[in-house]
Amino acid sequence: MSEVAVKPNNDLSKSVKAFLTKYSIYFILVLLVAILTFLSPAFLKPVNLINIVRQISLIAIVGFGVTMIIITTGIDLSSGSVIAVAGIVASKFAHPDTYPLAVALILGLGVGLLAGAINGFFVSIVKLPAFIATLGMMLSFRGVGYILSEGHPITNFTKEYDFIGSGYWLGLPLMIYILFGAAVLSYVILRHTKTGKCIYAIGGNQQAAVVSGINVKKNLMFVYSYAGMMSALAGIMLSSRLSSGQPTAGLTYEMDAISSAVIGGTSLSGGIGTIQGTLIGALIIGVLNNGMDLMHINAYYQQVVKGSIIVLAVILDKARNR
């Protein structure tokens, strides 16, 4: 699997190098954590670590769906807009003394599923490039968000709905459990189901996948719909966390989600990528954001550092895919 290109002097250095390149992304995270722990005593406190995981939960959840899409050589630019619309739709049905919680959740997730299915239709049936299909969805769904909300935030939620984004269970924020659940579900789909194998096959070589009898259209429909639903889940969580469904919610979240996937080793040319990698990628972004805030680094410099580290992480990670 992970052969190293350079000629090693002995077996030990070869195996060490192979090990390092295979798990390079994990080492980058550990290295970052070590540096930040050294520089800021507040960093490693449990309350701050919980804070980081909660902060990355939204982009990671979106990232899981996006990872599957990228593995099929696609892309999803519509995540941020789906976050906004799903948050608004769920918010509209989450006012006290109106509907049970399930209605808000089902409609919110349903809207994401619909958006994803439309993306899937244009990509698999109409055969538009994923970039174009999801760009169209990104623009038009942002508009739908403004139409549904009339440009104003939607507020006043039931206690149950508020609990999603701000509640705790056994000392941990509920959002972390949702993140964990979404990660396990996505991992199982990708690693232990026939659909998962088909997703990798389509990304590896679409022609070969067709020849070997894989229903490419059906699988692409599934992948885009699933990603739409994951974005919607993030949208519901965000609206609950902010106590308001906002048409501006989730702006540029698609970029953070794609970054998480790519930092985590998902190849933009398809066929390669894992859910755990994306989770690590999201953690790297979250740790960077948090650590730089703790060290009071000026926001101008933060952007430069973030951009550089993203590129650096991918350069290092590329070694194992060669």
Binding site: Q55, T155, L242, D293, H296
Partner: protein, 338 residues
């Protein structure tokens, strides 16, 4: 297979044509005015033809611009003889430039203009004034040397909001506080002026100290994350106030503090008097806010435009003042949004 492709293509084209037709409706009604360049001096020649006012919103997705537009639309109902065409600048000077060029080509009778960006407005102001179309600025000032080219301006003096915010905070905290300042997008005119206003106000209160400045990008989500990180940093326990450049960020910071159980020790305030902020003030979660009369600004802009196209004289500037709002007055301001 190819049938399906064809069907999809036809659907897409049909949709596109329908959308174009929708846009074209406003364009055709505006067309009869073409040819008239000196709209200010032109007498109302043909009463049958509706006068057209182009309204350029800086960014319809920005909450505050949406409230300005609410005020505009309400005021516009008073003038059934005038047609108002609203366009969204998407916070992009280039988009607004294109929209201004379209309005010039249509020879609208007046343009009401909220700049998305003051510095980038220069060429736009030049073009419109060269074309002789009355230009009424709303909410955001253009560069000082360009203000003269505006027919009129309705807005508030931005620095005043920062001064009021700082002064009221000094009063609430008894003249002594250690503060976190959450600013708007770096480089935005209100971010610069509100920061200057706050510093101006604190000149008379040397014990009002700002421990850390950061940007919440006008955004509740971003401000909440910044605040969570600050709470976990070495600044925890050292600050007792969070001063925010708008209410959205104040709400974000407040929610982070509330989740950390620190809201009883830290006071939060912002600017705008949004309905949500007012509600949180009634619950004691936000200390106060500064009201900028979005609706009043929008309504004034429309009123001026109508006066101008009717040949009435208008003043160069209409100042809509800011007002500090304490919790006990929250209901009065909430009523404005009903």
């Amino acid at each position: 297979m190819s049938n399906k492709k064809l069907l999809a293509l036809v659907l897409v084209i049909a949709l596109g044509v329908a959308m174009l037709a929708g846009c074209a409706q406003t364009a055709t009604t505006a067309a009869p005015a073409a040819g008239e360049t000196e709209a200010t001096t032109a007498a109302p020649a043909a009463p049958a033809e509706k006068k057209v006012v182009g309204v350029m919103i800086g960014d319809m997705s920005a909450q505050f611009h949406a409230y300005i537009m609410d005020g505009m639309k309400k005021e516009a109902e008073k003038y059934p003889d005038v047609e108002f065409v609203y366009v969204d600048g998407k916070f992009d000077p280039n988009v607004q430039m294109g929209q201004a060029e379209n309005f010039i080509a249509e020879a609208v009778d007046a343009i009401v203009y909220i700049p998305g960006d003051a510095a980038a407005a220069k060429n736009l102001v030049d073009k419109v004034s060269t074309a002789g179309i009355p230009l009424i600025g709303v909410n955001t000032e253009v560069l000082p040397e360009d203000m003269d080219k505006l027919t009129s301006y309705a807005g508030s003096v931005t620095i005043e909001s920062g001064i009021l915010l700082g002064e009221a905070f000094a009063k609430v905290m008894g003249g002594k506080a250690n503060m976190i300042e959450l600013q708007g997008f770096y480089g935005h005119e209100p971010q610069i002026m509100r920061h200057e206003g706050i510093l101006e106000a604190f000149k008379s209160f040397p014990d009002m100290k700002i421990l850390k400045e950061d940007s919440g990008e006008w955004n509740r989500d971003k401000a909440m994350q910044k605040m969570e990180n600050i709470i976990n940093s070495d600044l925890n326990g050292k600050f007792d106030a969070v001063i925010c450049h708008n209410d959205e960020m104040a709400i974000g910071a407040m929610k982070a503090l509330e989740a950390a159980g620190m809201l009883d020790k830290v006071k939060v305030a912002g600017i705008d008097a949004t309905p949500e902020a007012l509600k949180y003030m009634k619950e004691g979660k936000i200390a106060f806010t500064v009201f900028q009369d979005a609706r009043g600004q929008g309504a004034k802009g429309i009123e001026i435009a109508v006066k101008v196209i009717n040949g009435e004289t208008v003043e160069k500037r209409y100042t809509i003042p800011y007002v500090t709002v304490m919790p006990e007055e929250a209901d009065k301001y909430l009523a404005l949004y009903e």
